[in-house]
């Protein structure tokens, strides 16, 4: 077999001068092995402050009762379930990136999957806190599990979408956790090998005795593939089942068959937006520009555009079906969304989710760091509004007009939500300090250390067509680490 030469047209996934395997380890472990920098401290302080706000808000809720929220007799869910669905949705990108892209051999995922998976886990944790918090008697939360019991062997209601939700979320959380941790094993072993003292002992335990042997690697690969296979259906199932909470109900505006695909698309949409939000900052603060390149940013922006458009189609379909169905309650529900007292929420959702991602059709915008980051925030806001619109504007005016009400959030509602973001960032920032934010072992797989040298030599020897050579040089420039100040 002739020597394998990489196509000169393939763009490099890792950029930068003199990138070596050792350099990768150094770069990625820098935040783990060194004292945190000022940026991290500032971020962490803010995050912990809001996490404490969350602790205060949730303690107050548990102590006094759910009455401290803004809910009422008609609107039984509002910011709580909005927050829950929002967080679960955000958690979607992680699994999609790690499992689906792995199966499709999308190697560019290797730079972002670790952080995305971590984000998934923390987002699901935040979502889970809402499940507990929204219960009237959270101390009895274990009753939603089909546990053997002494209440006359009382079982859960398998007809209830909430029970399906419990299974879906817990499965998703455990599989994601296992997948994430499995991927971490070689990297933890790397940290262990470089650490001394107590750190070494801790990482030694955490590494499960990873020795880096061929057998280790072979099993690692096998397990990764199996887990990817297991997780892939979960990407679809989790938000499908979350959407069943609404779709199987009787509420006009909820009772819709379009919900499962619409929710899944929305979840991926918001998940990628959150990955963007986090990584655009992380790559700068952690100096990972060589690993998370403009290629990644642009790819993710494309996914955001696609999923955003799917969501937009879903919104329009809903409107059409509401009109076409001829059901007056359904028609009113959607008319009320558009023009009722919460019209501003609906139009915020429409603007943020449908119109703003269309800006990514412009290459200039989708390759702009600032624009990408701003739009990722806009999408996150839009997706929050989507859940708010679905939940609150459906509930607040349903069948019997005498019970129509307005929902106004209480201070605790707001603090709890802001606090949950604090909890999320606290966890994420801690994660960046103790575990590698980029999968070292996996990134090393895609480093073509010699290919650039070979290609440059081929060009120098004039064996490449000039236009191809030019394209290659251009691509290097384009995908090289981007200097923020110049952009």
């Amino acid at each position: 077999m002739a020597g394998h030469n990489e196509s000169i047209l393939r763009e490099p996934l890792i950029t930068g001068e003199n990138i070596t395997y050792s350099q990768i380890t150094e770069d990625i472990l820098a935040p783990v092995e060194n004292k945190p920098n000022k940026a991290w401290w500032i971020g962490f302080s803010v995050a912990v402050f809001f996490a404490l706000v969350w602790v205060g808000a949730i303690s107050y809720t548990f102590w006094v009762g759910l009455g401290v929220w803004g809910l009422n007799k008609t609107v039984g869910w509002a910011w709580d379930i909005t927050g829950f669905v929002w967080w679960v949705g955000i958690g979607h990108a992680g699994t999609l990136i790690s499992a689906v892209l792995l199966l499709f051999r999308q190697n560019w995922r290797n730079s972002i999957n670790r952080s995305a998976e971590a984000m998934t886990i923390f987002a699901v944790i935040c979502a889970a806190t809402y499940i507990f918090a929204h219960m009237g008697r959270p101390w009895l939360a274990y009753w939603v599990f089909p546990l053997p019991n002494q209440f006359g062997s009382l079982w859960v209601n398998f007809n209830s979408p909430l029970v399906w939700d419990v299974f879906a979320i817990s499965t998703y959380f455990s599989v994601s956790l296992v997948f994430w941790y499995t991927g971490l094993l070689p990297d933890i072993a790397t940290i262990r090998d470089r650490a001394t003292g107590l750190r070494r002992r801790i990482y030694s335990i955490l590494s499960f005795g990873w020795a880096g042997s061929v057998k280790n690697w072979q099993r690692f690969e096998a397990v990764s593939l199996i887990l990817a296979g297991v997780s892939t259906p979960l990407v679809l199932s989790v938000h499908t089942i979350v959407s069943f909470d609404f779709a199987t109900s009787l509420e006009p505006g909820w009772h819709t068959t379009i919900f499962p695909p619409y929710f899944v698309a929305g979840a991926i949409f918001s998940g990628f937006a959150m990955v963007q939000t986090l990584l655009l900052i992380a790559r700068k603060v952690m100096k990972w520009e060589n690993y998370i390149t403009m290629f990644h940013i642009e790819s993710m922006n494309k996914i955001i555009t696609v999923t955003g458009s799917i969501v937009g189609v879903a919104y329009l379909t809903e409107l059409f079906i509401a009109w076409y169905s001829g059901v007056e309650y359904e028609q009113y529900a959607f008319l009320n969304r558009i023009s009722g007292p919460y019209w501003w929420a609906y139009w915020s959702m429409m603007t943020c989710n449908v119109i703003s991602p269309q800006l990514f059709w412009f290459k200039k915008i989708r390759t702009s760091i600032w624009a990408s980051w701003l739009l990722s925030i806009v999408v996150n806001i839009g997706m929050w509004f989507e859940r708010f619109v679905i939940i609150v504007t459906s509930l607040h005016r349903d069948y019997i007009p005498s019970s129509w009400v307005m929902f106004y959030p209480s201070l605790i509602d707001v603090l709890l939500f802001v606090g949950s973001i604090g909890v999320f960032f606290t966890l994420f920032l801690l994660f960046l300090r103790v575990l590698p934010g980029i999968a070292i072992a996996e990134v090393k797989l895609i480093l073509k250390s010699s290919s650039d040298q070979v290609k440059q030599k081929l060009i120098a020897d004039g064996k490449i067509k000039p236009e191809q050579a030019e394209a290659y040089q251009e691509s290097l420039e384009k995908f090289d680490s981007v200097d923020y100040l110049k952009v």
Partner: protein
């Protein structure tokens, strides 16, 4: 001897080893180390530091942990000797009466917990209104006085007695006047006690003063017929009812009785016979009665009397009149005249005015149309109100002149209810002896020296004579909880009556006067609770004629039997009255030229303000506005727009030097240029719940022509800021949805199915869930929208029966009221011939004056769907279906996800946002052990975080089934009644077994008018509604 056999304990004993012998010497076989411990060294051991710290740590920790748990001690004291009649867990019922309405008091283990109507009562026939239902809470009111007070000091009754007697003797000697000021007393024994007191102190006069008085009617009857009484009205005999501002279904004279009478010509039985009365209401503000009217015309108070005058002349009477400027009033006149002419002898005109002249004209009209002897019985009058406004004004003058030295207040609170409070308190300060018989330190009591608190009616002996020939007894069901004494008892003692015990006095009085004529013994009377001397003609409707089937015959018989009248009423001369009316109307209209005409009304819940401390009544939504915990300025939205006032803006209403600031409320149906304000609010000294709730509107009452007028001309200004009223319903139109279905009487007569939607194509339904088989009983309910007047009695009854928490104004504002049963009220605005029901369309009604409004009242509660959307979504099976058709709620299993409430299309589920029973924020209700005694022990209270809803009174179902089982018989129809059904004056609610083909509920549900709310969702509700039928006037 063999019995002296010696057993040995071991081989050692048998062999008597030396060790055994040695060890067996002492008490213990091994020596105890007592010496070692108690020796010097042992006693002087120094505790090592570490041991000390350990002990300290453990000790402090253990004490702290033990102290963490607050363990309240609830003493339950068992009966040492069980009273024969009390069985724990089994309720006893005692006959008593409340405001003259016979009631049965349910007591459990010696404490009264619920009031229900006494079926033997002629006024209520076992039904009770909201006020009566809620009255039980007043017994457990902690704001009441706990004992007598003398000049601010807590004293014993002996001190009070000696002081008052001493004072009375001095006043007697000084020749000054003594006055007993009371609200209407129709108790024969009470009146006798006062008569005895007057005999002892001849300078005494008894003055009856009603805050909301009917002096106008009484004096008009004096003028027209020479009888100073309120006649007894018979709405059930009227085919045409015309009411000029009389809220006879809400608060006017005897609303409970009138509700029952009114419905009799409008319920299922009547409609089946193709009979329905036509009710025309002409009023300025929207009243409960107005919401039920077939035709309602909004006119200003000043026009009301003019319409009456014109009506009189249109009917053929001769009177000076003035042309009406209002085309609507003109229209009203033509319509009413036509209707009344057509229904001579079957019609009734009433007016809510307290103006003598207006009532004289009403009398004259009723004479013309032949109402006397048919729909009005003046020979057997009503004694429910006898207050005389002029007497009170005379008293005021006497007090101001210092002629009165002793005044006793019985159930009257003029310091609050009299318009000019300053004038009254100054006059009162000149009185030497001021005695208050109030149960609480109220506004008048605050000005009195002697506070002689009276017990609640559930702790007293008394009687009542609400209507001529009809008597009820009040008997106590519990010993006085506080150190209180009945007013009558005090008066007996202070007047040195030979009979000092009021019980004995009542008994003697009855045995002397009433009992012989009815042929009952005292004991029989106590059992039955009521006695009738006047024969069946007094109140035509006896027996349970409300029930369908049997009811039809009874109703018609009653209708066609006119009262055998002694004095036939002839023509009434109204010349002078007409003059006065023209003058008063003109003055009112002129005064309001730059402002508005104000009409004051009694609220359905608080009435004249005496029930202001009753949390159940404060939270009972007003039947029309659905506002709780406040009064407000009701104003037409268009008129408000003209004045630049937006709903909930604070508005200053001013008349002369009197002004109050209250939030404005948009009231469709309110006449242009008028505002209405409820009386009974703004109490300053009534108790925890009622203090400073709303504003006092009594100051606007004026004394004109010998009576207190409840209308005034006022100016209206925008005040400072806004004030959000706590409404249980904030969306007022039904958006054209078929949750409410109605028809007109004409259409109904042609097609009984009209308006039910039954003719529409029925499509086949498919079920995802297995069918619930209900082989035994199948509990369902029927609600007749045409028999519901929206009075709210069912709501309170449900609260009392099911321990439903009161949440207070702030929580109602957050839309968290807990009522399991609510009455939805929808407006639709008449725009030409269109009926506008959608809120969005209202904005386009630029030329509409929002005066022509039709209203629907719809009781809404858990529908107990056979395919309940709540049941499928609960994750923990806390709500499930029973085999007898009920939707159960297992509180203990509920984890509080609220999914069931979200998925309930009827929105009838209620969540416990807080621990209402034990949370200091709900202090105005039940946050004390005494008030908690009112709780129904058969129904658990719910912890926070738990969902609750209507159970169809499952505790009553269970009790009924057990009773039938004990008696080894099948359940009888209507044996089990839910609390709402039991109290409904119109019998609009029927509960029963669908599987029983002869049950009342089955018959009602088989009625052509039946429909199910949201039946297209295939929830298969267990509650069927009967369409609303309006007897509208078809325009030619």
């Amino acid at each position: 001897m063999e019995s002296n056999k010696k057993y040995w304990k071991g081989l050692e004993e048998l062999q008597k080893t030396p060790e055994f012998v040695e060890n067996n010497k002492g008490e213990f076989s091994e020596s105890l180390p007592i010496e070692e411990v108690l020796n010097d060294a042992g006693l002087k051991t120094v505790t090592p530091r570490r041991d000390f710290l350990k002990a300290l740590g453990f000790g402090v920790g253990a004490v702290t942990l033990a102290a963490c748990q607050k363990a309240p001690v609830h003493k339950s004291i068992p009966y040492l000797i069980k009273p024969e009649e009390v069985t724990p867990g089994v309720a006893n019922y005692y006959a008593s009466s409340f405001n003259g309405v016979g009631v049965l008091v349910k007591t459990r283990e010696g404490r009264p917990i619920k009031i229900e109507g006494n079926p033997a009562c002629l006024l209520g026939e076992g039904r009770l209104d909201a006020v009566g239902q809620a009255s039980i809470l007043d017994l457990y009111d902690v704001s009441k006085l706990k004992g007598p007070k003398l000049k601010g000091e807590n004293v014993g009754w002996q001190e009070v007695d000696s002081f008052v007697r001493g004072e009375l003797n001095k006043i007697q000697a000084g020749g000054k006047k003594i006055r007993i000021v009371s609200s209407t007393i129709n108790s024969p024994s009470g009146k006798a006690v006062i008569a005895d007191f007057i005999a002892q102190y001849p300078n005494t006069r008894h003055i009856q003063y009603d805050a909301v008085s009917y002096s106008g009617i009484i004096q008009a009857n004096q003028s027209s017929f020479g009888r100073a009484v309120i006649p007894h009205y018979h709405f059930e005999r009227a085919d045409v009812i015309v009411s000029f501002g009389a809220d006879f279904l809400g608060s006017w004279i005897s609303p409970l009785e009138f509700n029952r009478q009114y419905i009799r010509k409008r319920n299922i039985a009547s409609l089946k016979n193709k009979k329905m009365s036509r009710h025309i209401q002409i009023e300025s503000g929207m009243t409960t009665t107005g919401t039920n009217a077939d035709v309602r015309i909004a006119v200003k108070p000043s026009e009301e009397a003019l319409v009456l005058l014109n009506l009189y002349s249109a009917l053929g009477g001769a009177a000076q009149t003035q042309k009406l400027s209002n085309p609507k009033a003109e229209k009203a006149l033509t319509l009413v005249a036509k209707e009344l002419t057509a229904a001579r002898g079957r019609a009734l005109v009433v007016s809510g005015s307290n103006d003598v002249n207006v009532q004289i004209v009403v009398n004259a009209i009723n004479s013309l149309i032949g109402s006397y002897g048919t729909t009005i019985d003046i020979n057997n009058p009503s004694y429910q109100y006898a207050g005389n406004d002029a007497d009170f004004m005379t008293l005021l003058g006497e007090m101001q002149r210092g002629e009165v030295d002793g005044v006793f207040f019985v159930n009257a609170n003029p310091a609050y209810t009299f318009g000019n409070q300053k004038e009254f308190s100054e006059a009162l300060s000149k009185v030497r002896l001021k005695v208050s018989f109030s149960d609480r330190p109220d506004e008048t009591a605050a000005l009195c020296d002697v506070l002689a608190p009276v017990p609640n009616y559930l702790e007293t002996w008394n009687d009542a004579n609400p209507v001529a020939g009809y008597y009820t007894i009040v008997q106590p069901t519990i010993n006085p909880v506080y150190n209180t004494r009945q007013a009558e008892q005090s008066l007996l003692i202070w007047s040195d009556n030979p009979v000092k015990n009021y019980y004995q006095y009542v008994k003697n009085n009855w045995e002397r006067t009433i009992l012989p004529s009815v042929g009952m013994s005292w004991k029989e009377l106590l059992q039955k609770g009521v006695a009738t001397t006047g024969g069946a003609s007094i109140i035509a409707n006896t027996g349970s004629t409300l029930q369908e089937g049997a009811g039809a015959a009874g109703t018609i018989a009653a209708t066609s039997a006119p009262v055998a009248s002694g004095a036939r009423v002839g023509a009434v001369n109204i010349g002078a009255a007409a003059q006065n009316i023209l003058k008063t109307s003109q003055a009112l209209a002129q005064g309001a030229e730059k402002g508005a005409e104000l009409s004051l009304y009694e609220s359905v819940a608080l009435r004249d303000g005496r029930y202001a401390n009753n949390a159940w009544l404060q939270e009972l939504p007003d039947p029309v506005s659905k506002v709780t915990w406040d009064n407000y300025v009701a104003i037409n939205p268009k008129y408000a727009e003209k004045l630049g006032i937006v709903e909930f803006d604070n508005v200053i209403v001013k008349a002369g030097d009197k002004s109050i600031e209250l939030p404005a409320l948009y009231q469709p149906g309110q006449a242009q240029g008028t505002v209405s304000i409820a009386l009974g609010y703004g109490r300053s000294k009534v108790g925890k719940a009622g203090d400073e709730v709303g504003k006092n509107a009594y100051p606007f009452i004026t004394y004109t022509n010998g009576t207190f007028h409840r209308v005034a001309s006022v100016t209206i200004e925008k005040g400072n800021g806004r004030y959000e009223l706590a409404q249980t319903q904030t969306h007022h139109s039904f958006e054209g949805r078929n949750v409410v279905r109605e028809t007109t009487f004409n259409q109904y007569a042609n097609d009984p199915y009209s308006g039910t939607g039954k003719h529409e194509m029925e499509h086949k339904t498919y079920d995802l869930w297995p069918e619930h088989k209900q082989v035994g009983h199948s509990w369902v309910m029927a609600i007749d929208l045409n028999a519901c007047t929206g009075c709210g009695a069912c709501v309170v009854a449900c609260n009392v029966e099911n321990n439903i928490p009161v949440v207070g104004r702030d929580e109602v504002r957050r839309r968290r009221e807990m009522t399991w049963l609510r009455i939805d009220r929808y407006y639709s605005i008449q725009d030409g011939k269109n009926s506008v029901t959608e809120e969005n369309e209202l904005k386009h009604l630029d030329n509409n004056d929002f005066e022509d409004v039709t209203v629907v009242n719809q009781p809404m509660l858990c529908q107990h769907c056979d395919h309940a959307p709540c049941e499928t979504v609960c994750p923990v099976i806390a709500t499930m279906h029973s085999t007898d058709g009920l939707n159960h709620m297992a509180y203990n299993r509920c984890v509080g996800t609220r999914y069931c409430a979200n998925n309930c299309p009827y929105k009838v589920r209620r969540f416990n946002w807080f621990n209402y029973w034990n949370d200091s924020r709900f202090d105005n209700y039940m946050n004390n052990e005494f008030t908690q005694l009112v709780l129904n022990p058969d129904v658990t209270t719910r912890f926070r975080g738990v969902m609750e809803k209507c159970t169809m009174c499952i505790q009553r179902i269970q009790a009924g089934r057990l009773q039938a089982k004990i008696e080894k018989r099948p359940l009888r129809d209507l044996e089990i009644q839910t609390a709402c059904q039991q109290t409904c004056p119109g019998n609009a609610i029927i509960f029963g077994d669908r599987n029983d083909p002869n049950s009342a509920v089955r018959k009602a549900l088989d009625n052509e008018r039946t429909y199910y709310v949201l039946q297209e969702l295939n929830t298969q509700p267990g509650i069927g509604y009967q369409t609303l039928v309006r007897n509208t006037v078809e325009e030619a």
